[in-house]
């Protein structure tokens, strides 16, 4: 358990300069997620345009890991289709829950491969997943809403 595996340079960079942070309009769904154990919080908005995740904007308070995860999430899913986004979530989640045994695919996860080290720190996995769970929740709501409007 070497902390350097956790605090990769990429993570600290995203932490210092988070991509896409701040809450923006338009959005179809906004959620507020909390990590009750430690108090980390995120408010996250999703703007879905047709099939596409047009924007993910957020206001997060938390540790380097959860902040960097929000930034990387923004990088990865904005501009992708909802389906692609969920596939990325799956990929990220299995990396996180792999206890350090899963080899991440850089072509798919890009900067998120830096989170491979987090998987060795079970207590921090929740930090990395916080923004992703918020995104999942918000996107599901946004899609449901869209489907309803169509119906």
């Amino acid at each position: 358990m070497n902390v350097d595996a956790l605090y990769q340079e990429i993570i600290l960079d995203h932490y210092k300069n988070p991509h896409g942070s701040g809450l923006r309009d338009p959005f179809e769904a906004e959620v507020h997620h909390v990590n009750p154990t430690c108090g980390d919080e995120i408010t996250l908005r999703v703007h879905v345009d047709g099939e596409t995740v047009a924007d993910v904007s957020y206001d997060a308070e938390g540790c380097s890991i959860s902040q960097a995860a929000a930034s990387v999430l923004n990088d990865l899913v904005v501009g992708k289709t909802v389906t692609e986004g969920f596939a990325l979530l799956d990929e990220f989640q299995s990396l996180m829950q792999g206890r350090g045994q899963v080899e991440p695919d850089e072509d798919v996860l890009e900067d998120a491969i830096a989170f491979a080290g987090v998987a060795q720190f079970p207590a921090r996995v929740k930090c990395a997943l916080l923004p992703w769970m918020a995104w999942k929740d918000a996107t599901a709501q946004a899609v449901a809403q869209e489907t309803e409007e169509k119906a």
Partner: protein, 419 residues
């Protein structure tokens, strides 16, 4: 000596140092009070001591290495218990302090439930006359406090539930049906399938008190199909201070919280709070961490023996006890006289000798049994007795101990000059 199911009872007894104890007057201990509390194997005690001395930390809240070790051990115990009773999900396992708290948790949260789950005047709650006080009093309190009506199954002369009125007793007004799987006094194993089917047909919730079942038989909660099942650690070679509530996830999600504080929250402001999902929602404060770990070790111990083998031994030893006790003049078994659909608790009366005096005499021979109403006073009333003497058996009970019991009872009769 090998039990029917296949383990060597004498070897197993070596795991329980207390069974080697010598009591007053140089008498070897004959422990026949396992329905009250079971003895503990060294493996369980060691697992707890080892945790306290090497890995102790608070769980969930602590993110350091010791905290991770403690959390892994504690949550690992939840996995072990879920697997032991084949629960549909490990997140449906709530740790309580004992079975009584688990039953009260359900009654108390229904008392505070709103909407669909709220209990209203006119609603009915059904229990049975053979329940332990812990499965009567909480429902009396719930009924008193909500205006609902408490009703109950009566008993046949053999000590079985009288199911003849089931369709009237469990009706459209019935909200909750609660029943012991195995009676701690009569030994009766209740026909849960029939009761669950009827209760679910009218849309009632089924709560099962499995305190005497989980220690004795293989349990498959997924197959059972009840809504809530509770049991207690200390009767299944586990520590005191821990019980288990399994609840169907949707129900646990809908019920309001029970105790507030500690880690059961999502977020707290002075004005209001929101709550964590189950099981955390029902585990306020520092949980019985080391007791859960001990209970996990207990489940592992039982799994090591094989619950089929434990159940086979229980059946076999109970049949032997019923046969031998049946040979004593003036002894009446209260409860099923045959070892069919029957657990290993045998309550009896003896003409001319009060149960306390029986248990006192037996104790002077080193034989530990229980006398009194065994927290099942209504069942005693039903049979017109104020108290009984109860001998109860477990995986470590031997034929020789049954023989000692029988000899002790006969000597008691001689002592009090009733034969």
């Amino acid at each position: 000596m090998t039990a029917a199911g296949g383990y060597d009872v004498e070897k197993v007894r070596e795991d329980f140092p207390i069974l080697g104890r010598t009591m007053a007057g140089g008498r070897p201990l004959v422990y026949l009070d396992s329905a009250n509390t079971s003895q503990k194997p060294t493996a369980v005690v060691d697992a707890m001591a080892e945790h306290y001395l090497r890995h102790n930390a608070n769980v969930a809240r602590a993110m350091h290495q010791l905290g991770a070790e403690a959390t892994m051990a504690f949550e690992g115990a939840r996995d072990t218990i879920a697997a032991f009773v084949n629960a549909p999900s490990r997140d449906e396992i709530v740790f309580t302090k004992n079975a009584s708290e688990a039953l009260n948790l359900v009654a108390n949260t229904f008392r505070n439930a709103e909407g669909d789950l709220a209990i209203r005047p006119g609603d009915e709650i059904v229990t049975t006359e053979l329940e332990h006080h812990s499965n009567i009093v909480p429902w009396q309190l719930l009924a008193q406090r909500t205006g609902a009506t408490l009703r109950w199954f009566g008993l046949t002369d053999e000590g079985r539930l009288d199911l003849s009125t089931i369709d009237e007793l469990i009706n459209e007004r019935t909200r909750i049906v609660t029943v012991a799987w195995v009676s701690n006094m009569l030994g009766t194993v209740n026909p849960l399938d029939v009761i669950i089917a009827r209760a679910h047909a009218v849309g009632a919730i089924v709560v099962v008190d499995a305190s005497q079942a989980v220690p004795q038989m293989p349990v498959d909660l997924t197959a059972l199909g009840a809504d809530v099942v509770v049991f207690t650690g200390h009767k299944m070679v586990g520590p005191t201070g821990i019980g288990v509530l399994w609840g169907r996830r949707s129900l646990l999600e809908e019920l309001p919280p029970f105790l507030g504080g500690g880690e059961m929250i999502e977020t707290v402001t002075m004005e209001r709070s929101t709550y964590a999902p189950p099981p955390a929602k029902f585990e306020a404060g520092t949980p019985p961490i080391v007791q859960a770990i001990g209970l996990g070790a207990a489940a592992d111990y039982l799994t090591g023996l094989g619950m089929d083998a434990v159940a086979a031994h229980e059946r076999e030893i109970t049949a032997y006890a019923l046969k031998r006790m049946g040979e004593i003049d003036g002894l009446t078994v209260v409860g099923p006289a045959e070892a069919i659909e029957r657990g290993g608790a045998v309550s009896f009366t003896l003409d001319g000798v009060h149960p306390h005096d029986i248990s006192q005499l037996l104790d002077s021979y080193g034989i530990a049994v229980r006398a009194g109403h065994h927290c099942a006073r209504p069942a005693h009333q039903r049979f017109g007795v104020q108290a009984t003497t109860r001998a109860s058996f477990y995986l470590y009970t031997t034929h020789a101990e049954i023989d000692a019991l029988v000899e002790g009872i006969v000597n008691t009769q001689k002592y009090f000059k009733v034969v």
